[in-house]
Symmetry: C2
Subunit: 360 residues, 2 copies
């Protein structure tokens, strides 16, 4: 009854998956080119080290870096002629084409992409709950058998993921827009900060902090991801490039005088951003929700934020999102509390009554 | 002894400033083309409505929209031949050049830019603490008298701002990088979401949410800001455009095969982003600080986050930043608690002891 799973590659994702599946009752064996890495994964509770005496696995999960995933998937399909094989690379067309080019049996292969853990790395950071509530996209190819797809979904669900299904091209086009292009935009904007004086950088507010947070990501990993999804990222960037050229043209005209139509370009780009931003779903996966924001001054001392959120909870209001903004050199910060619009006014009153200072 | 201040324009910034200065003991009179707006500001405690019987003001603050600020500054300099005049527009070269072109007395003018309140609007949103702890840049011109500069700084400090001084060109170049270009990048990235299917948008994670948060900003206001700083924004965007062209070239090569040097371009852009991001100061205005992040699973129920932050406070640890990430359709979220690296390990242990589940 217990499904046996072989995990190839014991980095953050592979090790975390091993821990999760072991806890869920699967029999997990682990393989990695590095004996140290695989021993560490075993010690973390991710499964046992693969051995020649092991029975053939029911499912193989390839958790190798994106640029070698295709080769490893093909090898595993050949080595285990009855097993279903999946991989967890964050790009899917390139991996599939690599497997196809190697002539492996595509009926037993279905890719997947658990959208978790990318900003941290290394097996030591592994956790069995890494996938809890994260999107896990199962990505069948044109030949995947129903049984293979079902087996991969089963693994994703057992690991705690929220499963959806897409074709390889759909997946790569989606992550180009929601992940890869935002990363590049963030990197390009952050890169401009290098040229500023210290007093100029000191004007950085919450806006640029948010825009550039992911600019701290690992260049080597992102080079692999972007290279692996080059065609889809290029297509999205071509639109961005066209619009950016248009913006620069409008600014040229405005810098030199006052051109008819130049302001329309700027207003349209910002309005298109409004429309796109409004499509991002609310936290419960329901239709996009515009939350109301209640802003509160919070003294910068241990416990004060807790006291505020305790009072929010006491008011019976569920917090949908929270942003902190710190003043430079000031003894307090601003807490922006997002709540459903229907309760915002009441929350403001309740907090005022309890002595909190509301803000802007 | 009481300084008399005349505020022209009673929107969010003008009204908030009136409230702050009135509280600080200044005698404030209010003017606005709209009798309704000025009456509302008066009722909110921002000062008295300007009257012909008023004595001449010591300082005039022009809080008009960026595209008319220069004209209003020039009018006020002429109307009050002994007063110091400032404005609060978020662009400074264009306003100064407008004032200069009108032949007004530049010795009594020094611009300013309180970096607050832009994402909300309207006098009804005014608060006397709007400027508390926010950067307030005082922007003298080449003719500003020492007395004029001192008077404007005095107003900024009285309103609660954290004051720095820059030339108009320095100011505009700085905000182009830290505010205007991030806004455009955010809008351009968010605009791409319009073309996606719902399942594709549903893959949006915390990265794109952060990058596109400011994409919800007002197109009309941003058109004025960008048009008013066209030359400086264009210069920064030209660099971004060049690098974006280079990235697209590299992706072209990678999509068609495997080109020498293409990966280097991608790695360099991401690494430059690392370097730029690292320059953003920590919250206390000290040298840039890399915080350690402790990630905790928080049940999605009123009071749970408060209980967590209460436990953080109990552990004697000061929270430097907090990000919430919500799983789609899951009964909990992830709280990413940023703390000084020296206390991260102890905090993790304390929270585990108290029954919290730490995460990846």
């Amino acid at each position: 009854m217990t499904t046996s799973v072989r995990i190839v590659g014991t980095g953050l994702i592979g090790t975390s998956l091993g821990i999760a599946l072991t806890r869920a009752g699967y029999a997990v064996v682990l393989a990695d080119p590095s004996p140290t890495a695989v021993a560490l994964a075993r010690d973390l509770g991710a499964g046992s080290v693969a051995d020649q005496a092991d029975p053939a696995p029911d499912v193989v999960v390839v958790a190798a870096p994106p640029d070698v995933a295709g080769a490893v998937v093909a090898d595993e399909l050949t080595a285990w002629p009855d097993a279903v094989v999946t991989d967890v690379a964050s790009v899917k067309v390139a991996v599939l084409e690599d497997v196809r080019r190697r002539g492996a049996d595509l009926t037993r292969y279905a890719g997947s992409h658990p959208m978790a853990g990318r900003e941290r790395s290394g097996a030591v950071a592994a956790r069995g709950d890494l996938f809890d509530g994260r999107a896990w996209v199962v990505v069948p190819n044109d030949q995947s058998s129903d049984a293979a797809i079902a087996a991969v979904k089963d693994i994703a669900i057992a690991a705690g993921g929220t499963v959806s299904t897409m074709s390889p091209a759909e997946h790569d086009a989606a992550v180009a827009v929601v992940s890869h292009v935002p990363q590049l935009a963030s990197s390009l904007v952050a890169g401009r900060l290098r040229d500023l004086t210290d007093p100029a950088v000191a004007l950085s507010g919450q806006g640029i902090r948010d825009v550039t947070r992911v600019a701290a990501s690992d260049p080597q990993l992102w080079t692999q991801i972007l290279a692996g999804n080059a065609a889809a990222v290029r297509e999205v960037l071509a639109h961005v490039h066209t619009e950016l050229t248009e913006v620069i043209g409008a600014l040229d005209v405005l810098a030199d005088g006052d051109g008819v139509g130049a302001r329309e370009v700027l207003a349209r780009i910002v309005a298109q951003g409004n429309a796109g931003h409004a499509r991002i779903p609310g936290k419960h996966g329901a239709a996009p929700t515009a939350y109301s924001v209640v802003v509160v001054l919070v003294p910068d001392q241990p416990g004060e934020l807790a006291r505020l959120l305790h009072d929010v909870g006491d008011a019976g209001v569920n917090l949908e999102d929270l942003h902190l903004e710190h003043g430079m050199g000031q003894p307090f910060g601003l807490a922006e509390i997002s709540v459903l619009p229907a309760v915002a006014e009441r929350l403001g009153e309740e907090l005022s009554t309890r002595g909190w200072r509301l803000h802007g």
